[in-house]
Symmetry: C2
Subunit: 347 residues, 2 copies
DNA sequence: TTGTACGCGTTATCAC
DNA sequence: GTGATAACGCGTACAA
């Protein structure tokens, strides 16, 4: 039972008295063989227990069928769901994925990219944001980004602006006295900035009292909790007796906010309405199901891979036509109305 | 600006008037060159803008540095965190990961495995459970499983039995009148069965009234919610006035259970204690921070990769010694006591 | 310390 | 329809 060397086309060729070329053709262009000969080779494969070797194939024809993915982390449900959906496109497109988590470390991510290039990936999907789109574009391989700065590269993003509009519009339609948007520090170049802009535009258009609270909520749970508690105290004081419409940057934070509110007041106060973002599972599993601007993650993931596949196919043509401008696809969000805005009938 | 062909060792050799071999040595055994010559080659690499090609290296020396991962899905936080930690070991071990999500489809997973073998992965980490450990062992490559049936393959698992003991012990120490364990249908061959066994053993050892409720909670949210609501109604009726200690199979379900309880009774009833499993973020972000049996996911992931690396290294030796028996590593859980068991002082 | 020659397993290009 | 031969880019005896 020694570790026999792998069976190769040579072995099959010897066994069947064909040439290596014919064996290769059996796999890549079987119609060019007679049915009898196909059967002969087919039998030989079983007899010899042949296993294909894609590494050799890559070296010979250059097609790795690898896509690289760099994602910031998998702790936020949004990211893990995106990754899940991307990986699942294997069944549709057949591409294999080399996955790296960046953890916000620029040097490590550069190392990742170097590795990915060394393995001759055909395309790259980037969700992390430590490396500028300009640097990425310079890599000169097909790239699609998701929800990050994307000036020089193709991308697929949620229509964040519409999300902000939907959230503010929903709160406005419930006649809130003041609209509050809570978000982390966000550069204007990022797609998520659209949420803020959409919120602001609706507020100004409808002459609504409003406030945008920028807090660093990306750190540990304790500090996030402390900051949200502070916000609640401020709101309770500044807008006492007024109907407050809260739009929070993601469902995880919306849930924490809701629970803090609940714990402070022993109930979900009548004068609060909450809208989150993402439609993560937690939004409907919360103590009060949270209204949220849902991202269509399955579509985002599919469109990202689909776009990347198109770019990669173009690249394989004899005379590839490079893009004049990066393509930016926009996926509309879907507003989910739940109890944090649509109160149940009161007795 | 045409797509120049890739720069190879040949090009560098010509440019520097060395041989290919010397260039190869520069990368693999630089000490065997003089410092001057190293500098010459180093300069040439920059001038020619050389990019390494690992595919060719693989074909030549057989070392892909690929590890395959098959994971059921990324929807449960436990899985995405495990994957995050595994991928992050790149910085320690340097192995690259080809990741597939199984979605419980046996045929698809078999296809994955075929692909992984074709790409000459050096080892495999399996979290999905559609394929028996016997079949996996027959692949004859280093394999480590996590939290699945593992009779014929190496594995790293949480000490589920101790987890069950800790949970039941904690509830018992608070003098519950009855202990309830809620879990999904679980075969005795699965590591998670230990949670049930540990729970039962403690209950019997301490002569505690107890009940194990097996419900299929893996389906959609609505049915999970409906089943848990039913359980709450039953418990409220059957054990009215008695102190009920609830041990639930994971934090996601524990959180849903807690919220349903809260919504029904308007408060977290005095006669309920809850312990979850996993120490997922939701457990501390819940309306009442949930006590839970924490899995040390970072350790599990590290030990899994570490064990796999050892197996792979052994395999590379001239005369590999195959394992007599699969190695099963056990990682102790860490009990997190939070408010669902340790009530705050009441006024 | 450096070079020569060959092998890794497949595909591509021409012939026939 | 089939075969011989040369790539693909790197590692590695073995020799010098």
């Amino acid at each position: 039972m020694a570790q026999k060397k792998n069976v190769t086309f040579n072995d099959i060729a010897e066994y069947t008295h064909f040439s290596k070329t014919t064996i290769s053709r059996y796999f890549n262009n079987p119609d060019s063989l007679t049915l009898e000969n196909q059967a002969i080779i087919s039998d030989a494969l079983v007899k010899l227990n042949y296993k294909e070797n894609k590494v050799a194939r890559i070296l010979a024809n250059g097609k790795t069928e690898f896509i690289g993915i760099i994602i910031p982390s998998l702790y936020l449900h949004y990211f893990s769901e995106i990754l899940d959906r991307i990986l699942s496109t294997y069944e549709t497109f057949g591409y294999k994925f080399l996955v790296f988590v960046g953890n916000e470390k620029k040097e490590v991510e550069k190392q990742y990219i170097k590795e990915l290039l060394a393995y001759k990936i055909e395309g790259l999907i980037v969700l992390s944001h430590t490396i500028s789109s300009k640097s990425l574009a310079a890599l000169n391989i097909p790239i699609v980004s998701i929800e990050r700065e994307d000036q020089y590269i193709c991308s697929v993003n949620t229509d964040n602006y519409m999300g902000g509009v939907q959230a503010a519009g929903l709160l406005a339609s419930h006649n809130c006295d003041v609209l509050i948007h809570i978000n982390s520090p966000t550069g204007k170049e990022l797609p998520t900035y659209g949420r803020i802009q959409g919120f602001l535009d609706i507020c100004e258009e409808q002459h609504l009292k409003h406030q945008v609270l920028i807090r660093d909520l990306k750190a540990d749970y304790e500090s996030t909790q402390a900051q949200l508690e502070k916000i609640i105290d401020d709101l309770d004081r500044d807008y006492a007796g007024q109907k407050k419409g809260i739009f929070i940057s993601n469902d995880t934070h919306a849930n924490i906010f809701l629970n803090l509110l609940f714990r402070k007041h022993k109930v979900f106060p009548e004068d609060y309405l909450i809208v989150g973002f993402d439609n993560s599972p937690i939004s409907r599993e919360a103590i009060i199901p949270i209204s949220t601007v849902g991202q269509q993650i399955d579509k985002i993931a599919y469109e990202a891979v689909n776009l990347l596949v198109e770019l990669m196919n173009e690249r394989k043509k004899r005379r590839p036509v490079p893009l004049e401008e990066p393509i930016h696809k926009i996926i509309p969000p879907v507003l989910m109305r739940r109890e944090t805005t649509e109160r149940e009938e009161r007795a």
